[in-house]
């Protein structure tokens, strides 16, 4: 059985980002970049399936600039068997385009399962997995907090409001990972060194012949309003009064 894991290179979750002065996007120059944390969870899950003997091959794929090689090397250090980089100067394709590219990769690679992060922490879209499943006509198990694969079936426990819901999908299928699915491992130093020698194919996105046209346009990127200084109130009555009449929150 073969698993495909798409991984995205994003600004590290510890880095505080700020909008570029011209408001066209976020300033990422020299910011530390790493693998989208939800994709790490996907990688970890794929590796557990492989270590459990369910999966034979794990392939990681990333879409973007040549820098995404670093992200793919991390995936290889997790234990992926090989990696594929679809290179492009554009690094912020929207989900509809990414799902088209991934569908073309799926057509070539023919995996039995795609495991991917439910969303990327940079654009927070949470659309690609659903779009990909729709495009392929496969079943989808989104927001997975538990995944079992056996007898050509994926049993996915999903996080829903107020509890969980378990669905059974016939393979091939798309699974998107939620936070509680697993805790990704620490990368081992020897594996990081081994990863440098594992196969990493680079191809131009354009070779896939898919439509890369964007459907949306970013109008403005702004920082949240600054928090004003606090005020000291003299009594509980004054606090209630000001919450009610000034802040109008109660």
């Amino acid at each position: 059985m073969k698993v495909l894991v798409p991984v995205k290179r994003v600004v590290d979750y510890n880095v505080r980002v700020r909008p570029r002065p011209d408001g066209t996007g976020v300033d990422t120059a020299h910011a530390k970049m790493s693998m989208n944390p939800f994709d790490e969870i996907a990688m970890e899950e794929a590796m557990r399936l492989k270590e459990g003997g369910v999966v034979d091959e794990v392939v990681a794929v990333s879409i973007g600039s040549g820098d995404c090689q670093d992200t793919l090397r991390s995936a290889l250090a997790f234990g992926a068997d090989r990696a594929l980089l679809l290179e492009s100067d554009t690094t912020d394709f929207e989900p509809v385009v990414i799902s088209r590219i991934l569908a073309a990769v799926v057509a070539e690679e023919a995996p039995d399962l795609v495991i991917m992060g439910k969303q990327a922490i940079d654009d927070d879209c949470n659309q690609t997995a659903q779009m990909l499943a729709g495009r392929l006509g496969w079943g989808q198990g989104t927001f997975a907090c538990r995944l079992e694969v056996q007898d050509g079936e994926a049993r996915v426990t999903r996080e829903v409001d107020g509890g969980t819901r378990t669905v059974a999908l016939s393979l091939p299928a798309v699974v998107s990972t939620d936070l509680r699915l697993n805790e990704p491992r620490y990368l081992k130093l020897p594996n990081i060194m081994k990863a440098k020698k594992k196969p990493l194919d680079r191809r131009a996105v354009a070779e896939l012949g898919v439509d890369l046209t964007a459907r949306t346009r970013v109008v403005a990127v702004t920082a949240p309003p600054e928090r004003g200084p606090g005020v000291r109130v003299a009594s509980v009555e004054e606090l209630l009064d000001r919450l009610k009449n000034e802040a109008q929150v109660i």
């Binding site: 590290d12 530390k32 620490y186 130093l189």
Partner: protein, 539 residues
């Protein structure tokens, strides 16, 4: 895992050494495996410096750095040296060491990122996110490599679910370039008694901010240094303002860690500095985009320890190559790394057996411009022990009349022994932050992007847990709460009407000040889990 050479720390010294090792090996057609360990999550994440860089060492290491796109983009143009009083800024004549013609204003972190790429292209194995936590010794007591830090331990030290033990890296030679006051270098100094015939090291704490300014006063290449206010006359220190490209300004204050008043707070002095009438206009309407702090070595020539020991060497600021009057050390750190690389190769080839005169790295450096430069500058820093004006007068004499050839050498004292008891010290009333030009510690630490995974043992270890409330609090009124630029140390209510020391280790920006300045020398700064600590973008 076996390597020919393991280097601890991917700063300018470690990377220069790695590059020089691989260059020489390639020239000779030798196969030489070189591995660099870095505790930061990526190369540059823990690098913080002013910085104005003199490209001398870079010229020797990679003469084609301009063509290769090294990030030295802003030539230093105008030098200004100001003496600040509370309200006025009086221009002083900049001493010759402070002239910056031919130098560049850089982000040292970005320079290291670039050096790391050059090193990797030469076949160096660079492993960020793996701190060296332990020195390995062989039966004869010689250093034989290092072990990386364990990952996934619980706060009590037991193994957690995701526990991953550290890895032993065995090396024929190990080079320690951890930067100022390295945690392993500190152990080496004791074990091999490397400081046996030099002065104690003396340090400064540098606090730096990066701003994006909106002021017509911004002028790329402009360099301003100040002395005087807000520091009192007895405290050594000064500020820097470096105008970079893209409307950015690097601003920082350095305070000598031999200061005496336990109420002094370097962080608040830095905040206050920005409010000086001659300084403030530059920052009005601007945005602070980064913050960080790092201790630096100021002892110079007379504080330089022995640098060689069986199995390896120490280079860079772990030994101390900052030239105080120049306010620069990167070129010296790099050259010390390059010289260490030559010494390592001679040892590996058996040309300079361990322990012989030819093997002594310090002696090798004596033959280079590094030691000539440091020797000439040696009396400047200690001259300021008596205060700003005696210091300036003595330095001027030393520089202009004696030209660094004084027949005497002034000496240093240990920084941690200089604090006066709180009872005889004057508390300092610092103004409250305004949230526009001045900020509090927590808002600042936020901008350092520092992160320590929760649930790991505290990496700031107290040798004696009772000492903070037995010595630091009653005698010195808890100075760690003030000298720590990241709000790690806090005295809080212990529930019994007294106070206890709380260590917020997750705030730590790895500046090492606590390990240096703690009056009872009770704090051991150890490496936390790999990849933890600040994530400096352009510092």
């Amino acid at each position: 895992m076996p390597f020919d050479v393991v280097i601890v720390g991917a700063g300018p010294a470690g990377l220069a050494a790695a590059i020089r090792l691989r260059q020489r090996a390639t020239e000779q057609g030798e196969d030489l495996s070189v591995c660099v360990l870095e505790k930061g999550s990526e190369v540059g994440a823990h690098i913080l410096s002013g910085a104005i860089v003199e490209p001398r060492a870079l010229d020797e290491l990679l003469p084609d750095w301009r063509e290769q796109g090294a990030p030295l983009n802003t030539p230093a143009r105008k030098d200004r040296f100001l003496w600040l009083t509370r309200r006025r800024a009086i221009p002083l004549m900049a001493p010759p060491q402070m002239h910056n013609k031919g130098n560049y204003i850089v982000s040292l972190g970005n320079l290291c990122r670039w050096l790391a790429r050059q090193a990797e292209a030469l076949g160096v194995e660079i492993l960020p996110g793996f701190p060296a936590a332990e020195i390995l010794y062989d039966d004869q007591g010689a250093v034989r490599g290092v072990a990386t830090a364990d990952m996934g331990r619980n706060p009590d030290g037991s193994e957690g679910l995701r526990f991953e033990p550290g890895v032993e890296l065995h090396a024929r030679q190990t080079l320690f370039c951890e930067g100022c006051h390295g945690s392993l270098a500190k152990q080496l100094m004791t074990r091999f008694d490397l400081r046996r015939d030099c002065d104690p090291q003396t340090y400064g704490l540098g606090i730096k901010e990066l701003w994006e300014v909106d002021s017509p006063l911004h002028e790329p290449g402009r360099v301003v240094h100040t002395v005087g206010w807000p520091l009192d006359n007895g405290t050594y220190g000064g500020s820097f303002l470096y105008h970079l490209d893209e409307r950015r300004v690097a601003v920082g204050l350095i305070v000598g860690l031999d200061y005496a008043n336990p109420y002094l707070s370097p962080f608040e002095e830095m905040q206050r500095f920005k409010t000086h009438p001659a300084i403030r206009p530059l920052f009005e309407g601007g945005r602070r985009i980064a913050y960080g702090a790092r201790a630096l070595v100021e002892g110079g020539w007379q504080s330089l320890p022995r640098l060689s020991f069986p199995g390896g060497f120490i280079a860079g600021d772990s030994s101390g190559f900052l030239n105080v009057p120049k306010i620069k050390g990167t070129h010296n750190a790099m050259k010390s790394g390059m010289t260490a690389a030559e010494a390592i190769l001679d040892r590996l080839r058996g040309e300079a057996p361990e322990g012989t005169d030819a093997d002594d790295l310090r002696q090798r450096l004596e033959a280079t411009w590094v030691m000539r430069e440091l020797r000439r500058a040696r009396n400047i820093r200690p001259a300021f022990r008596r205060g700003l004006w005696p210091g300036i007068t003595l330095s001027a004499m030393d520089t202009y009349l004696l030209r660094g050839r004084a027949p005497w050498t002034l000496h240093h004292r240990e920084d941690h022994a200089q604090l006066r008891p709180a009872a005889v010290s004057r508390p300092i009333d610092y103004p409250r932050p305004d949230g526009r030009i001045t900020f509090d510690r927590l808002a600042s630490v936020f901008l350092s992007n520092t992160h320590h995974e929760e649930g790991q043992p505290v990496h700031l270890k107290l040798r004696d847990a009772t000492k903070p409330t037995a010595l630091n609090l009653p005698v010195y009124d808890g100075p760690e709460a003030r000298y720590c630029p990241a709000g790690v140390y806090e005295y809080v209510d212990n529930g019994n009407g007294g106070q206890r020391l709380q260590i917020n280790a997750q705030n730590c920006v790895h500046c090492k000040t606590c390990d240096i300045k703690d009056p009872g020398q009770n704090i051991d700064w150890c490496v936390p889990q790999g990849g933890d600590g600040p994530n400096y973008p352009d510092l």
